[in-house]
Subunit: 288 residues, 2 copies
């Protein structure tokens, strides 16, 4: 088995290779002056190949590179290609919310299958049912386990695990159970007149507590910011935002910090300064 | 027949619709804050659909949008989808120049076929043999005809049509024949020590003449600039650079202008201020 690292998953690939004791392929990446991606597999290829390539930042470029890798590896003689996309972009457009809309995630998954992937592994995809679009073996890994492993070793002051909305409650429950602390959620709704996101009045006592807000993805940071603000106003000592995928689009970081978030802890499905937790053990378990 | 315009081929789509008297579909394009593309077909779809979507600027985004359009249209009930990509990106990586390289254009074409295109039409693809990669009906249109039609109506002073290298000679010959003027080419080579592009000494008399440099694509402008400089030094009155696809990457325009090019004339396979010639009649002929 050889691991082919995508340009945005270099570190995760190394961690994974170390755990499963696999070789990492030497891949040359270039961007031509006109913006086109170039990929070259420098090493000889083995029969079993694992591509690890996340799709953020710059989702379109990463997706095109993924296609180039799969097709090229197939052409170079790989017999079985497992495709690991730790963060799969376009997953939020998972159905036709309005007539005539493209169901983008379905298209992307179909293309991955059609160009030659034999297996598809991802982490915390927006909706697991999207994977039913394709016929190859798929697997959605749940990162909350590695996040909990990391957080339970930190000394928190009377911690409270908070889901910023009901959709994240499952996640908060699991985290709370492993960390052996209280958990709950905010009731989020959209104001019918202004369109703004609002939070229902809550009567959780946050005074002097460390609050861990947990979500699957932090994108523009809007939800985290509004949640953190309320928690801080209600007297929380520290606010930690944790998630699987920290995209932190545009001014998200600034927005989150000025809302009172003291720390962001995320996994390496997206590699940046906040990806302190690795999902490599989860992927390794799946590959062995 | 209904035309579905890509976000980078709005004008060409309109010109084409006018010629063949077809309806243009109302398509909604959006970019989400995280950078993901969104497409929505607002109109009801007919059985026969023609997508017109070029792939520059921002080739990866345009290619992903193309995939979304094809898959979505198929899903919405289109029976036959003709895909017109006036400028197809990734075409210069058309073979394995070094071991292990991805043959990018083959991957892109395969994906277009696999996601559901029934026919593929392009203009002046870098190498026509790339089209053999796929099994659907393909067609490569030659824009030199519409370029010549445009140029022959301009009053030039003792014009000379110049290919900047031997690869463009066919093009220069055709243009010269239609414009009824002299044509020729420069012998371009790469200096083995410095790696720089050099031009063999030429003895064409350019004095006081209008020189039309013709190529298929102007990308970084390096070739055009070096060619124009020599021509101007040899006393040319005016230098016109003409091509099918004017990408004009980064500082290409500045480079070309400061080398002495007085005017750039290109087609609307890539839409910008220089796309003065439309390829719509060529495409129309192919569709009828």
């Amino acid at each position: 088995m050889i691991i082919v690292p995508g340009v945005a998953s270099i570190n995760l690939s190394k961690r994974l290779a170390q755990i499963i004791n696999a070789k990492i392929a030497n891949v040359e990446y270039k961007i031509f002056p006109d913006g086109e991606s170039y990929v070259r597999i420098v090493d000889n290829i083995e029969d079993d190949v694992v591509i690890v390539n996340t799709t953020y930042p710059n989702q379109d470029k990463r997706i095109i590179e993924l296609f180039l890798l799969i097709d090229n590896l197939k052409d170079l003689g790989a017999k079985k290609i497992k495709v690991v996309v730790p963060y799969i972009a376009y997953a939020r457009q998972d159905r036709r919310f309005r007539e005539g809309e493209a169901i983008s995630i379905n298209t992307i998954l179909k293309l991955i299958e059609k160009i030659g992937a034999d297996e598809f592994i991802t982490v915390d995809i927006h909706k697991e049912y999207s994977l039913n679009t394709i016929k190859i073996k798929t697997r959605n890994l749940n990162a909350i386990e590695v996040i909990a492993d990391y957080l339970k070793n930190i000394n928190f002051n009377n911690p409270y695990v908070l889901a910023p909305d009901k959709g994240a409650l499952e996640r908060a429950k699991k985290l709370g159970e492993i960390m052996k602390c209280e958990y709950g959620y905010f009731e989020k709704y959209r104001d019918r007149i202004s369109g703004a996101i609002k939070i229902e009045e809550v009567d959780i006592d946050f005074k002097n507590r460390d609050v861990i807000i947990v979500d699957d993805v932090i994108s523009t940071g809007g939800t985290i910011a509004i949640t953190a603000k309320i928690v801080k106003e209600k007297g929380a000592r520290r606010v930690i935002a944790t998630c699987t995928h920290a995209l932190l689009v545009k001014d998200a970081l600034e927005k989150i910090k000025s809302a009172g978030v003291d720390e962001i802890i995320a996994t390496d499905t997206v590699e940046n300064e906040f990806s302190k937790i690795t999902v490599a053990p989860l992927i390794a378990r799946e590959l062995c």
